[in-house]
Amino acid sequence: MLTDMLLLLPTTLIDGLVLGLIYASIALGYTMVYGVLGLINFAHSEVFMVGAIVAIEVLIYGLAGTGLHPLIQLVVAIAVGGLAAGFLAVAIERVAYRPLRVRNAPRLVPLITTIGVSLFLQDSVRFVESLFGQFIRPFPSFPFFNRQIVLSETVFISNRTLAIIVLAVTLLAGLYYMVHRTRLGKAMRAVALDQKTSQLMGINVNKVIATTFFIGGVAGGVAGVLYALQFGRMDPFSGFIPGIKAFTAAVLGGIGSVEGAVLGGVLLGILEVVLGTYIPMWTNNAIGTEYKDIIAFSILILILIFRPNGLVGRAYAEKV
């Protein structure tokens, strides 16, 4: 059994890493918005879902039969899906959150609005898809992505896995650079620290907030496409669970911090897959793989008991 476990370890870690990077990309949207506004944007899981569904429709109705290389098709789909998700996030902010912010509504109110927007988007997408008699949107299958680079009998990496890892790492690195090394990033961090003072320093706060939503939305949409590519399908209601897990990852890492979201996401993904594989083996299947979420989340509660501000969070956090 020990040898079995060792043989499985590389594949398990790779699968966990892929899942973790996807969680991390979604978590960015939660963490950036929280950093700037102190708002938990529960509609983000629907932004993620819309990004994925738009990309799938682009692949099915726009690019099928064009004979383009699958990687090019994927990049085009990611671009369209990501932009659609970004603009959707901005629209949500403009319509549902900004009016409340301007009127200084109590903090609980926008939180409830995010849940309302989330339900509204789920059923709107369901309605639109049902007009075409569709519900489950399968990600088109490309033999190219299934091709595997076999390193040994149990260790192998598919083109899909490689593509997801490369794209997600690029996205995360790009965002890290943007937040920490650009003027826009500096403005975002300033708004996070103190909106009024930032305004006095000549920062257009509303514009910075809208940009934050846009960037978070794009990251969420791209994550959605990667998620659909990895797991094969998307439907109007399948944003919820990955959304909740990514939110958890953001809290685990320390909400408000980009590094924290990445760390939390990767940790949660790896915990989920590794424990889901090994615990059934250790317990001779008495505790089956269906309990992987329970196990992963129990560990998470433990971590948060000892580090209530998350792994990299500080009590007085430099937000974003």
Binding site: D4, L7, L8, T11, T12, D15, L19, R126, S130, F135, I136, P138, P140, S141, P143, N146, Q148, E153, T154, F156, S158, R160, Q230, F231, G232, R233, D235, F237, S238, I241, V273, G276, T277, P280, M281, N285, G288, T289, E290, K292, D293
Partner: protein
């Protein structure tokens, strides 16, 4: 449910007012309710059942019209959810015109909803619920019926096929932890072990799970030659896709929950080698009068029927046959209990086979076919027919 007396009086006044002018012209309306998922990820099957029932009412409703009655379809959406199904059921039983229910699609919904119908003796015929529990409870003994087979029979039929036809030695068994999925997987596991097959791993997954790497990575080491799945096509399709993407060549076998033309779309048409499912629903093209049915259905609704359309058709036919028998016996306003009793006496050759129920409400002869899935659903091929009788009462 309790209402205040005033409310009841008011409601009955309203009903009287509504019913009176109509009653003067015709003898009455009979409603057949379909309770199937019309939204959500199983809506394709639910819609197919509903349309089958609609066609059945059009085909066999004629004599009632001639006699001055009216038979109409009332389609309800149970969203594949026990909560919604039961809430609908509670509403339906208060409508005195409802004489029978065709539904539900899912066993997990049929079972709790049948308890509600039993309160008023309303007959229910499920076109597709295969969990044994549905017809094994005393509380619903008089009203719960099905035209489909049972999992404890479907499981053994699948095991027969696995051992005898595709020579399986070592199997992985996955179920989706629903009444249907785990019942089917248990029955399969027992039968397979009895026939000498080895079960290497038997595990559940959450119904909403989309990542099966925790199971499939182990399969790469264990090398099972069959992966059996108890569950429905939205998840089954994903499992197939991920099995093939992981480079596993194991054969895949499932139950009738996989019987949908969406399976290929979700799993990917190029992943369809060595994929089988057992089903009670013989592909309509292979039924004696199936092509005729398919053509009529297509002309009317603009799309081809699904496997379960024919079962919805027969279920509604059975209710209409029971109603007809009751009217022929001279009853002018048949009671629900009487119709439920007549359902147990129907005996006719339906679209899907011989329709007659035993004392439990199971169909007497259930036909199980094993279908090999092709990249195009229209080319799905029956590879074996296992005829199994329902367990005796």
């Amino acid at each position: 449910m309790r209402y205040s007396k005033g409310l009841v009086a008011f409601a009955s006044l309203l009903m009287l007012a509504a019913a009176f002018p109509v009653a003067a012209q015709e003898k009455g309306t009979f409603k057949i309710v379909t309770q199937t998922p019309l939204s959500g990820d199983q809506s394709l099957a639910g819609e197919a059942i509903k349309l089958g029932v609609q066609l059945s009412i059009e085909d066999f409703g004629g004599p009632f019209d001639a006699a001055g009655y009216k038979v109409v379809l009332q389609a309800e959406d149970d969203q594949a959810s026990p909560t919604t199904g039961v809430a609908n059921a509670n509403r339906i039983i208060n409508d005195p015109e409802v004489i029978g229910v065709v539904g539900h699609y899912n066993s997990g919904v049929s079972i709790p909803a049948s308890e509600v119908y039993a309160k008023v003796g309303l007959t229910m015929i499920s076109p597709s619920s295969t969990s044994p529990t549905l017809t094994e409870r005393e509380s619903t003994r008089l009203i719960a019926n099905r035209v489909s087979g049972r999992d404890d029979v479907q499981g053994p039929a699948a095991a027969n096929f696995a051992i005898n036809t595709i020579q399986v030695k070592r199997a992985y068994i996955i179920n989706d932890k629903t009444a249907y999925g785990s019942g089917l997987a248990d029955a399969f596991e027992k039968a397979l072990t009895k026939l000498g097959g080895q079960v290497v791993l038997s595990t559940g997954v959450d119904q909403k799970e989309t990542d099966f790497s925790t199971i499939l990575n182990r399969a790469r080491l264990d090398k099972p030659d069959l992966i059996f799945y108890g569950g429905t096509y939205p998840q089954g399709g994903l499992i197939i896709k991920q099995i093939r993407e992981k480079g596993l060549s194991a054969k895949f076998l499932g139950g009738d929950g996989l019987d949908s033309s969406d399976l290929q779309k979700i799993a990917g048409a190029d992943n369809m080698t060595d994929i089988f499912f057992t089903t009670t629903s013989v592909p309509f093209g292979q039924l004696p009068t199936g092509n005729e049915f398919g053509a009529k259905y297509k002309a009317k609704f603009g799309r081809a029927p699904e496997g379960f359309s024919a079962y919805g058709y027969d279920a509604a036919h059975a209710i209409l046959a029971a109603l007809e028998a009751e009217l022929k016996a001279g009853v002018i306003a048949p009671s629900r209990e009487a119709i439920a009793a007549q359902v147990r006496k129907v005996d006719f050759d339906g679209l899907t086979g011989h329709i007659a129920f035993n004392g439990k409400g199971d169909i007497k002869e259930a036909k199980y076919v094993v279908v090999a899935v092709a990249p195009d659903p229209a080319n799905n091929k029956v590879v074996s027919i296992e005829l199994v009788a329902a367990p005796l009462d």
